[in-house]
Structures are given as C-alpha cells and as structure tokens.
C-alpha cells in the first residue's frame, strides 16, 4: 500500500529502508525472523526493489543485535555471491539497475525505530523524528523518495507473491459487511510474540483474529503456576492495556477501538498474572518512554519525566488522589494525536497511562489512600 505513494521516477536514486530497530519492550518477532530465516527477508527486499525500481536498500538494525547483525551480514554476502544483489545481479539484467543491500547498525536509541528518526540516523545525525510532511515516500533518506517497512512486512512479500493475494486473504478476519470504512480488514498471518507470566513464552504464528485466551491457552500452555489472568498488553508497551475482563479479546487490527486501547502494534503480547502490581507496570513503562524521548517536543520531554516522578511517588506510597487526576491530565495533553508532538512516542505514554489508570483505577487508589490516610485503629492507637 505504502509503495504506491512513490512519485514517478525522475532517473535519480530511490531507497528502501528496512526497519529492524525492534526495541519496543515485549517485541522480539523480528529477531526470530532474522535468527531463523534471514533469506526470506532478503527475498522480500529484492522483490520490493524490483517492483519499485529501487537500487539501494539499507537494513537498519539496532545496535544491541550483535549476533543478528552478523547473521544478516552472512546472508547478504551469500546473496551477493549468488548475484541477487551487486553489479551482476540477475534482477539488474531485467531492469537495468544494480541493486545493493547494506546493513546499517544503530546505536541504542529506541526512537530511531520511528521512520523519520531512522532516516536521520541513517544520514549520520542524531535520531530526531522529522516533522511531516514531506513524507518519506516523497523526500526520505538523503532527501530522495524512500520506502520504509518493518522486517515482518518485507518478509511477507515473498510468500504473498508466491501464493497470491487470495491465499493471504484466506487468513485473518473479514471486515463485517455493515462496518463503517474506519474498521480495517485484518488479513493474513501474524507473528505473535508472547512473554510474561505464561508457561511457554515465545513467538507463535497464527491468523489475525485469534482470541487472546486461545493464544495463551493453546499456544502458551496457560498461565504460569496456575495463576489467574489479570492484564495483557496487546502489542508493545505503547499500545495501552487489555483489562481482566478482556481475556477473550479478538486480536486483529481493530483491537484498539473494540477494547479501548491504541491498537495491535507489534503484536508483542505481554501477559500479567493476578499478583502483578499495576502501579509498578505503569512506572516501568513511563520510565522507559521518559528515558527514550528524544527531547524535541516539550510535552513529551517534560510530560514523560513528570509522569515518571509522579508514578514513582505513588509507588512509594507518597501519592495523593490528586496525583491520579494529574496523570490523566498530563497524558491527555501529549501526543501526535492531540497534535502537540512530532512523533508517536508521546502517544504511547498517553495511551499507556490512560488505559491502565482507567482499567485498574482501584489498584492506584488503594496505593494512594492506604499510605496517605492511616486511620488511628490501623496504626494501633485505639
């Protein structure tokens, strides 16, 4: 879909950037793909380059993936050897371009996974997301038209070309007949990376539209230690949370609107059992986002740090019930969707805090009240 945004050719370079900066907590499917099948990724890259008449592809892989960068480099070397890439490429014989594929290692910055920050980083600058427009398809890497896709997306290209779109559409969930156009169709298979309090965490491939409960019970062997399910994050921490009563949630691209969170995101599902401290979870998530904020936009830079301090205070038992309203107000004021920030990192903080606080408010209230107003009888005075 994104590929159709490219402008007509003007004879100069166009780029493909593959986003392998997987750093969203709870997400590890791209690592699995690279570990076990780097060639399917390269196949997708070659097809994409041919289809869009691109001659240079960069795979932006995060710095911490040392082993994966080596695996990929070996696979790329092999592809050069067999003339998939390089000046004698068999693709080049058809389309008269000389396709090249390079690996570019990041250096420990989550925000570089945002597509325009990735481009800045590729150009040797700090990973600051760019203000859009212009969109990367028009002016991306080195101010040239650029396609950016995730590893899993590109890896899916080969199988779709091979088996045809009908095969792809035979999986997943259809759009309901009478649904408004805002409801997306969710076709195809998806890699679900499940971690947390389950018996067999790991990456499982299944059709979109699988129920969370099925995912946990049939694939992951149920909850660990026979504990009860409390909450799950559907796809990376920035996506909000599914509550205890949403155990049967249908995981497809419409998960956001149906269950009041942001979306399916990376499908990196983090499962939490009955003993989980939701205040600590929120604090951890916001600490991450405060730490990784690039600092360009005030609401994000100051807001995440402020929320982190407030949450730490609540966790330590020094919070007041006013702090909860403060958190909601702060959350509501930041993000690309309220229009106050450049990229979506702040939206992640917004959704995480808002959904956890709304769905687990009693957990927070117990914390602020219990420690704040110690009644005389509990203190043993009377």
């Amino acid at each position: 879909m994104k590929w159709s945004f490219l402008p007509p050719e003007d004879g100069d370079r166009r780029y493909l950037a593959v986003n392998a900066d997987e750093a969203e907590p709870g997400t590890f499917k791209d690592r699995m793909l690279i570990d076990f099948d780097p060639h399917i990724l390269l196949e997708g890259i070659a097809i994409c380059m041919h289809a869009c008449r691109i001659d240079t592809a960069y795979i932006y892989i995060r710095g911490e993936y040392h082993a994966q960068a080596k695996t990929l480099q070996r696979a790329v070397d092999e592809a050069y050897e067999y003339n998939v890439f390089g000046k004698d490429s068999f693709l080049g014989k058809i389309n008269s371009l000389a396709p090249h594929c390079y690996i570019h290692r990041g250096a420990g910055a989550y925000v570089c996974g945002e597509e325009t920050a990735l481009l800045e980083s590729l150009e040797g600058k700090r990973g600051w997301p760019r203000i859009k427009p212009p969109f990367p398809a028009i002016a991306g890497a080195f101010a040239r038209p650029t396609i950016i896709n995730n590893v899993e997306t590109i890896a899916m290209v080969g199988p779709i070309v091979q088996h045809g779109p009908d095969w792809f559409k035979s999986m997943g969930t259809q759009r309901p007949e009478d649904a408004p156009p805002t409801v997306p169709a969710s076709f195809g298979p998806k890699l679900f990376g499940v971690s947390g309090h389950v018996n067999r965490p790991g990456v499982y491939e299944d059709e979109l539209g699988i129920k969370l409960s099925t995912l946990i019970e049939t694939h992951c062997g149920g909850m660990r230690n026979g504990k009860k399910f409390k909450a799950a994050i559907p796809g990376g921490i920035a996506m909000g949370i599914l509550g205890t009563d949403q155990y049967d949630a249908v995981l497809d691209f419409d998960v956001g609107k149906k269950y009041n969170c942001l979306g399916l995101g990376t499908a990196g599902v983090i499962v939490m059992d009955q003993d989980t401290d939701m205040v600590a979870v929120t604090r951890n998530i916001i600490r991450f986002l405060a730490h990784e904020s690039c600092g360009q936009c005030t609401p994000c830079r100051e807001g995440t740090t402020w929320m982190y301090k407030t949450l730490s205070r609540i966790e330590a038992g020094d919070g007041t019930s006013k702090d909860l309203d403060l958190l909601l107000e702060l959350a509501g004021s930041m993000g690309a969707m309220p229009g106050t920030t450049i990229c979506g990192l702040a939206d992640g903080a917004n959704w995480a805090v808002r959904t956890i606080l709304n769905k687990f408010r009693p957990d927070f209230e117990a914390r602020v009240r219990k420690h704040r107003y110690v009644s005389l009888s509990t203190a043993g005075v009377r």
Binding site: R31, Y65, G106, G196, I237, I270
Partner: protein, 174 residues
C-alpha cells in the same frame, strides 16, 4: 536520556601523538564504508562503531580525527556521538554488563537479579570495578523477552537468568 546536555564545551581533551583513527581503520572506511552512502556524514555511525570496537571507547581526540577525515565539523560528530547511548565517550571496563530493565524482564525478576549483581561486584549502575574488568549498566528491552530476564555481556546475550546462573557466568569470564 539522549537530550540531557553533556558537558562537551568545557571537556578536557587528553591528547596523544599516535592517532586513534589509524591507517587500518582508514583503509577499512574507504573501501568498505564510504561507498555505501551518498554522503560522507552518513558513514558516521559505522565509523564510530569501528573506532569503539578497536579502542573499547571513543576518546574526544578520535571524534576530532573522524571529523577531519570526513570533512565535517567536530561539533557535528560530537552532536551525533553524544545522542547514542551505545557510544562510550569515557573509558569502560573490559566487560560491559547490560541488564535489561524493561517491562517483561521486570515482571520476571530483573530487580532482584540487578541487586545481586550490584552486591557481587560492589558497584552500582553506571560504575566500573576498580580493576577495570566490569562496567555495570541497565539496558532497555533487548528483544528477548520470551527468555526474560536477560543481560548482554559485551556482545553475547545471556538468557533465563537467575542470580545463581548469572553468578557462574560472570565467574567464568577471564
């Protein structure tokens, strides 16, 4: 926090006569790195990785040499180098231990693990042992949440850690 201003203007630059960016590195950059990119500056991240790989960290003098080599301002190099947390602008120990502290690892017992490692090495996060062997850091999600908690020691990932098995891993390092 990438946006915290680092003290670079007042930094004392330790100099030595021998260049950090030696002929080996220069040849590697010219043949393997520069041809990949349409601009010279784009080669900055790979070059900084290469310098750090060779010297274990990136001294300010090396930043100036890189700037000189690429024909860009030293400030531009410093601007990029200070943003990325993987680039060490001060010396670190022989082994860099990075314990993941993101959500799944915390759910699976990272806090206890970190406390035990701190006690074992006698340092807190951000410090290096006096014999310069270990530097302890926390990391954000290392993309291995299914085997949480995990830690990276230099380039190798260690999974399903407990204080006991990590203890043995650290003891086995020379």
């Amino acid at each position: 926090m990438a946006w915290i201003v680092k003290n670079s203007a007042a930094a004392q630059i330790d100099r030595r006569d021998q260049p950090y960016l030696d002929q080996d590195l220069k040849t590697h950059i010219e043949t393997d790195v520069l041809p990949r990119y349409p601009t010279k500056r784009a080669a900055l991240l790979p070059i900084l990785h290469a310098v750090q790989h060779k010297h274990n960290w990136i001294p300010y003098q090396a930043l100036e040499e890189v700037a000189d080599f690429l024909d860009i301002a030293p400030a531009e190099v410093a601007d990029t180098a200070t943003f990325y947390e993987d680039f060490w602008l001060q010396p670190k120990g022989k082994y860099l231990i990075m314990i993941c502290q993101s959500i799944t690892c915390e759910l699976m017992g990272q806090v206890n693990l970190l406390e035990k490692v701190k006690a074992k090495l006698g340092i807190s996060v951000g410090q290096t042992t006096t014999d310069d062997r270990f530097t302890l850091m926390t990391a954000e999600c290392l993309g291995s949440c299914d085997t949480a908690p995990v830690a990276l020691v230099n380039e190798s990932l260690h999974e399903k850690l407990t204080p006991e098995n990590f203890d043995r891993i650290l003891d086995s390092l020379s």
